[in-house]
Symmetry: D4
């Protein structure tokens, strides 16, 4: 809350228009305290999308507890990196949720009604093995409201494969490029596009790929100026950011 807003609120207290307890709740955003988790129920109003559950390192029970709490609050619930065990547990408790086992995601929207899409995102992969990460980006971006297209296996060893898709690049509000090994594709895509490109290094490869370090460094050093990078294998962040950008582009 910025100074002017806060002063306005305090003046309203003085004027008797707002009760102190009510003002307090506005000054302190809502959380749900589950003991093992402090669920940020204010995230949606602050960030435009509710807290997303990173399922790794959580028990199936903890995961389900947070899902339940978000659902109770009437918020969309997205979970990522859902293990097989968690997936089965969640499927029993939330049979209507959408689970994508390639992307390892869990999606329980607050409402089943279709929503209009906001902007378009285009997701490219350098190889076939990058598909699970790319699919995480696809699912995430769709949950945030973007229209998403996925184009697989257009790495630079056959440069004509990506050149065929230049028109798609031009019409997308944001491109996501998923690549392991040499991680060279985002540099090329960046040079063909007038929009922002989000590069996702993957742990595909062996030896000096160092579980994604090699493409991570490549992408951080991309010779095209419009390339940004997210964590290794983080299809989630790429899809999230791409959807935010597309949403803004489609805003007006």
């Amino acid at each position: 809350m910025r100074a002017e807003e806060m002063l306005q609120l305090l003046e309203a207290i003085k004027a008797g228009q707002v009760a102190p307890a009510e003002a307090l709740s506005r000054l302190q955003p809502a959380v749900a305290d589950l003991g093992y988790a402090t669920v940020d129920l204010d995230r949606k109003s602050r960030c435009g999308f509710p807290e997303v559950i990173f399922c790794e390192g959580k028990t199936a029970e903890w995961t389900a507890g947070v899902v339940q709490r978000l659902a109770d609050a009437g918020q969309d619930c997205l979970g990522t990196r859902v293990s097989d065990e968690q997936a089965a547990h969640l499927a029993r408790l939330f049979p209507h949720a959408e689970q994508d086992r390639l992307a390892r995601t869990f999606w329980l929207p607050a409402s089943r009604e279709p929503r209009p899409t906001q902007g378009t995102v285009c997701v490219f992969t350098a190889g076939t093995g990058d598909l699970p990460v790319a699919q995480e980006a696809v699912v995430t971006a769709r949950c945030l409201g973007a229209a998403v297209e996925l184009i697989a296996d257009v790495g630079v060893a056959g440069i004509h494969r990506i050149l065929r898709h230049r028109d798609r690049l031009r019409t997308a509000d944001c491109a996501v490029v998923v690549a392991g090994m040499d991680g060279a594709l985002p540099s090329v895509v960046g040079g063909l596009s007038d929009g922002p490109v989000i590069a996702v290094p993957t742990s595909i490869g062996y030896g000096a790929a160092f579980n994604g370090v090699a493409p991570l460094l490549t992408m951080l050093n991309a010779c095209s100026a419009n390339v940004m990078v997210v964590n290794i294998d983080s299809g989630f962040k790429a899809g999230y950011c791409a959807a935010l950008i597309a949403r803004r582009a489609a805003r007006v």
Copy 2:
């Protein structure tokens, strides 16, 4: 060029509407071959902004040669990481260019007429020492057409310093956060914003900061989903991408 467009062009040749030489120039984007450089004169039409000159590792003469060639082509010319020697050399040859020695940039617009801004970018720094990198982001984003605001030294050790600026975050189309050492600021900014955040690690710090590796890793692992990262000290890329995002958001 996509298949349908290309086929159209080829049909036009057949129909005698387009001369083969003319078609050839459309199929092969323009370059200027200077021996030591192959200037990409097509970049502007393809990417929305001309080739930017990375001055490190170039002689002053090479740098000036590329500047001249872009100017001759009637294109804006932005140079980054301009050394003192290069700056002096360029100042003699291009006295009307704008040079910012804090940002180490060179800017020679194709036209001196003011241009309308497209979208707004907000640049934050964690510390005072991050200012040179931040200023490179500021200059770059302005050259690309964004309205830019710079807010310095609001690192998380005094968390109220960034909380004061939440309203600015809400109105900006894109935030850039520049930080060295622990690189923690983007995570906090991300959690206060509903838009994309571009994090720039800097080489400020000592010991286990490892010339920017520490904040780079922090930012790649930011717990806020809307944080993307660019190379260490790359104020340039952050400003470039932020301006592209702002431009799209302001497009309609």
Copy 3:
């Protein structure tokens, strides 16, 4: 033993007040030689707490052997990183011991009588997945005599979650902050506190988290001056040091 004390002892030998063999035992601290282990029975008098058993890399038999020897010497016995196999083996031999499977600890106090607590420690985690490490800190600090409070999942993406607990920070003698991924929480906690903060990086996360290297570097570079760091996943050391600090603070 310092020079004056030693001289005093030697004078006492000369004076016939102390037998040479007795003096020898004072000059050479006690150990128990088990072949596979040289148990430091003097640790308690020297360091204020007996030797703690690091169970990793030991057979269940070796582990039990050291436990038995400490118990025989009438000393408290704490074991950490107890594997499932070791836990089962120890449970059979020492049914009265307390085992915490989340923390993976074994605790066999020399006496079952309750002891007064000495000082207070507050343990925070950034995420739910950090709980096993945090719990190791909790158990360890309690074994050393501190009163401990645990507050989970207050990472900086929802900054209000930690701000709610500022009063607890002020009353604790020492704070422990457990975080993986970006490891940003200790910097923020440090800036809200006038006491020492012990940061524990965890191996929670993926990709560029590099099994805890990312938060380790973040914490070593924390912009708050009152942050110290222990090894990745070392809830044990954090709890141990925090209890020592709390004990001193509560000493008088």
Copy 4:
């Protein structure tokens, strides 16, 4: 501010006992906005010591500006990593300040009156070359109010050198151990002490010392449980934390 305090304040507004503007200033801690720096004037009340100026990467003018602002606010002013150029500039502007060129510190206390010391800190170095870092710890701890003793060059290659000082370890509230190369000294000191030990790796050494990485890793893995670590060459943080611990121990 915790919830109860905040509610009390809001009730006081309602009761007309506190003006909204006054309440606002209590809710938003003070900063001084210098353009290139946002000085945290609330740090002293929140953290028990004012903001310390990290001088690296700042111009001499920026440094002096922050010093002046803290002095104007009647707060102690400590600067670290002061370059020769900054030192000369500051000496001209603040001739009464204490500068230590071995420690590279600047100290301008708010008042020249002597203060009672709070607790004792003992700083050890493994070698002579570690002295500049140790001296930074000494100066910092003294500025925070501790009585400090410095013992140099007692590395483990001659183990009797440290054994001579066991009595000092027992009487200090906190030990700081500064070591480069193998960084083995803190492990030994930890095993001789019943208090907390803060280890500072230094960049002294060559080859596989990797500018302090080797002793940093050694210290993070110290086999003694009471060893915490700060950044490479960070005498500042070690002195700061040690003084905080000593202050608490001496509190009552």
Copy 5:
């Protein structure tokens, strides 16, 4: 396609000698779009050998799908890093293919007729444990048409073992040297040969071998000028490049 060729083609359209659709297909190399893969059917004509399938990270079905598509196009099909599961699946579908389980390769030539070899390659290993990687090189080079000889376990600890084979070095068109641990063999082989040497570091070894990093660095720093390096464990690339070199040497 270079400018002159392209102009020729365009002139031919104009002259009515080539139909636009035909020209289009010449300008855009062929791909097969399988959804999960974009198979580069032009690779053979462009690079002299068809696309090779890297099987890691692919499902058995995806792998088989690409194999089928290449076979349908009448092209040789080589697969590498074939898992046991993939091998069994492929064996059922393509019983005539040659699978080498030491090399983990799959080979389905377009024609069963024997082909004349083109040039000779000699593959050396430093140890017995390097054999799987070496065998991948052997199979690959043979698929590309080279005559290959394999000589195992001639590491430098018994330097006479490699000296015995100097005559083979002189007659081979290209040498491949496979080594883990110290990776010293390529330096020695390079000093005994007047031809190119391709070094392959392997992940054989332990501790500071760091899964092949040690021999990788050794080989990149080989004191013999004629040593080139490929990725850790990449027998495939070494065999591929060696065969290309041998083919050129045998060309005339």
Copy 6:
């Protein structure tokens, strides 16, 4: 010497056809012992080119001493990484030698007569700043007898720049690709060529380029199978190997 040859020689001794001293000199290759250097005078006959002098870390006198010894032996003499001081010293002593200050090479051929070239090499750079390394490759390959062409600044951000040169790729016997930063160019070049490609990472770039580590990893992981790698900034090795390959290709 292989077994049969050696046996033949021994039989010749027995037959009195070869004197033992003469046989000894055949069994032990020639060296020149200068105290500070053991010059390998047999290198030329064994490896096809004399020992090349790596000048870094040598005094100017040592460097000149080795040059003189090779010249005395009637062998070509190539020096690399010649410092300014060494260059001046050598220029005084060997005024007829060719020195290239961009490549930092020294070249004193045994004979001034022109030699026929053997095969062709094509050297590409991604950027202008890669030119010094590329020039070292050019000079080296020419000294070994290749015809060399240099094409600068055709990085992948403007992909059409390299596509223009596909015909040159087809006619060269070997391609060398020099690139810093993302190091993506060799992957693309490899996909356009049916010959071997030698990739040279350069230390051009900043931040996460890590002085050439980023492009080194990119190139080791190149998705094109025909890419081999040499040490960072080693234009020398690339040129040397390329010339060897070209020489073999041109042999017949």
Copy 7:
């Protein structure tokens, strides 16, 4: 063979005292070529101990094949890093061999007769978990003929534990110190001894121990001058070198 010896041999051929074939076999040391291995049968005469079999990465059959070949040649046979599967296979084929499953060694002496020991070695471990590596050193040194004593768990956290054994240090010809985690013990042992100390880092520990990197670096930087280092977990090399040193010391 040195020049004079070789000349002597050649003169002997000339004089008819040695047949050329016989001379050849002296000039070329013996190997046994098994296809998958080139066994160095000359190692014993050259290095004083036969080739040792590194069993990792070999099939059980390959391992047994080499054992058999060495046994056939009448040489001692030592194998290290023997897996459970290999151990069982070897036990069936060589029931008289000694296998130590803690050390993971296989020992089949050429003769069962007891041999006199040559020199003494003392092996220390910092912790109990270091025992498997220490035992590999013990077995190896014994196979090479040394008298070996093993003293476990005398790490520096209880410094008196190692001080008790100073007399053993003085009488041993060589000390081996095995330690993980902080790796501090060799520095202390070195400072108490006038003989050579061989330090063995182990992969015991967690987090920033980085599988032995931390103690490796500590040991390379040991502040005691008489400390040498071998690979992580290489009890084998430490035992081998220690026995060689002890053998020399006992030689006369």
Copy 8:
């Protein structure tokens, strides 16, 4: 002091044969406390050679102070890594000392009388640039009493260069091998010798040599079992250990 000795001493006190003060001095080894240094005057009797001064990071005055103190105690004084400034300062104060500027050593023996040598050491270098490090080994080993021979530039690219010196290897008590870049020479030397080999990696090289990391790893992974390693560029430690080994071998 071991238990029996200590008991004996204590009994002697009781018997009035030894005064307590005298006994105290025997129990506590001598040091000289200079404030900036705690000189270990007992090192010579404990370790067989006095404390050696590591001059890096010390002022010239500090260095001279320690030299003077050792000289006053009648002990040999060796200094290493002496800077030009320190060398000049020491030369003025100790004109009779021997300084070697290639090795950067200072040597002031307690007596000028010649001493008999004890054992022989052979130092090899792979290249000419390794000479400064090798010379530090030579000087150090000589100061400790060994007869030392230096053989330069016998790297493995010309393998016959080292093969010429096999006889020297056989007669030396210990070999030191100094190498940068690929660090391959110790593996070869180890395979030709029946004695211990001490490998010294140097920072000679560029790019992926990483200032000595590459040869360090090579040497730690040496395929010859008799190779031990010291720190990068540590000619000092290699010479020290080699002399200790040679001394033992020559002892009887």
